[in-house]
Symmetry: none
DNA sequence: AATGAATGAGAATTCATTCAT
DNA sequence: CATGAATGAATTCTCATTCAT
């Protein structure tokens, strides 16, 4: 029964990402994960060499999903401005859908000494590159200011969206995503648009 | 050889904040803290009921410092625009000076079930209020767009500055603070300024 | 090498009861227990939430054994007098066989603020009730004085036997149980028998 | 001011005996003692070499008091029977007055490995000897059974009274001492009196 | 005579990992 | 594939004791 395998892994992934998001990597125990997943403790070590390999797999998985989400969102955008709007929407939607994963990433991003450090670096490079691409298009089209440094602007805007989204989820959870987007979008566009 | 009370606590605080910033709360052991502080293990438990109470005290202390820094920075600013520039500078300077504390705050801000949850809430409210004040002045003076929601804009801009600063410290540490500020300031001002 | 579940718990129980009997609860370390039991330290915490829960389990176990021992002893006794003789014998035999447990109970019985307080209360109620039953039979049959208060007499006689037995074990260990019983029985019977 | 010294020691003694009675020797910390006594921690080590020396001093003190109480009580008793009645009264009164000390003694009496083991042995020998003296007088006068072993009977009766008294204090504290004595006395006298 | 900050060895508890089934 | 009892090193926390004041 091939379903069984996938099912077990899915339960493990969901439980792990939720808990890591809530309590952080070091603050989450394997016991808590297996309890929430409803599987036995040995099962984790049947599928993964260690706790840190579990988190690596988790990051790689989430990373793949984020990249896909960004790429498909930006695909049909006619210009840099439209692409940036689409990315704001995509990032907010992603964070809403994968809250736990997003919290995990924001909490562990600045750590120095982790085994899965590289997964996070790759994650960051990918999304920064997608944002930077949209920015460069907008600059080339004259919509965005020409003096922007695409790289740093990209990571700054990514962080701006991420903190706004998490702030909303944690401190004002009953607000609608649409409202958040409506308030955030002018700030993002204002930050990069050419004046006049 | 008993030390002066303040000295012992200072050493403990410095060591703890550095390590928590580097490795997170759960990733840091009390042994590591006391070794770096050069005090005995019992000393932590003489002054604090537990490891988590040490973090609370740490947060309260850093919070006080941040609020002071903001208030003194903003004091002489002639208007909303100048105040916002001053706050960008102050936040960057604070994060550079208290890197470890800043990482700690960013890592723990989104956690749900921590003992020091309240300290973090208070911290957030205070700095959001300072930013919101500057924004309201700028809106009243016509420099900033009139349709801004001061609260959410404030927290978004704070997060924008914080992620930019941490990104710089972690991924591009040899860059100068001045450069970061020069690249960041137009984005922040563009985000809130009235067009035209 | 995992052992059968029952075996591990048995070894833990035996080791713990011996040590608690010798040194008291607070005077016994978990390290000493696991060393004597020949298991790893984590095993205690796999089976019990804490050291104090181990004591509770121990008390509940010993309590069950004592109740069984009393009930089977008294079963065939033809009258109150015979039942009381049987109980004296049963209690002495129990204390000789479960010395450590008995010392533990006598040491902790008068404590106010323990986690296992309820286990001890139940223990006391059960044995007092068995003694009181025998006393009531003897009173109804006219062998025992009619003015006895069955409850308080029961607990007094239980304590009388217990202190005599422990005194013997601690201060005169080479004496035979038979001798102790021979010297004790007239005192017990004299205490309750109707004169004449 | 010579009062001060005595006062401090008194507070220390009271606090220590109460806590040792409630929680046992090993279960009581020096911190708890000094907190209840309202003195600083160093004070204990100014007056005593160690925690175990404090308990030794405590035992010696209580022991002296018990011996005095017994001796004065028995002094005017005309015969063995009257002396035994007086001792029952004295022991009950002592336990009521020095509850904590009594609990301490009963809880630690059966331990093997204590520093102050000898103090307890001496205590036991003294009170057993007083009871044995009364018994011997009663046997000589023909009031008590001639086949009693004075030593074991003495310790048994002491334990009988002690457990009855503690049982009363712990499990039925609102009862009056007089009632306890009235119910206990016939049992004690019945245990040793010559029949007929 | 008394204090209380500081100590560090030792005790309780946690937790990632292993392995026989 | 999956289990869960067992492990033991690492970790948090305790507490009797010291000592400069």
């Amino acid at each position: 029964m091939p379903r069984a395998h996938t099912d077990t892994l899915d339960r493990l992934f969901s439980a792990a990402v939720e808990l890591f998001g809530e309590r952080g990597y070091a603050g989450t125990t394997v016991d808590e994960i297996v309890e929430r997943a409803g599987v036995a403790k040995g099962t984790v070590y049947y599928h993964f060499r260690s706790k840190s390999e579990l988190v690596s797999a988790l990051l790689d998985d989430g990373l793949r999903r984020l990249a896909e989400s960004f790429r498909s969102e930006i695909a049909g955008a006619p210009g840099g401005d439209a692409a940036l709007r689409a990315l704001v929407h995509a990032e907010l939607a992603y964070i809403e859908r994968y809250q736990a994963f997003s919290k995990l990433v924001m909490s562990e991003m600045w750590r120095a000494d982790r085994d899965w450090r590289d997964s996070l670096r790759t994650l960051r490079e990918q999304y920064v590159e997608v944002f930077a691409g949209a920015l460069r298009r907008g600059m080339a089209e004259g919509d965005f200011r020409a003096d922007l440094d695409a790289q740093t602007t990209a990571s700054t805007i990514f962080g701006m969206i991420a903190t706004a989204a998490l702030d909303w989820l944690v401190f004002d959870p009953q607000a609608a995503l649409d409202d958040v987007e409506r308030r955030l979008l002018p700030l993002v566009l204002g930050a990069v648009r050419a004046p006049g």
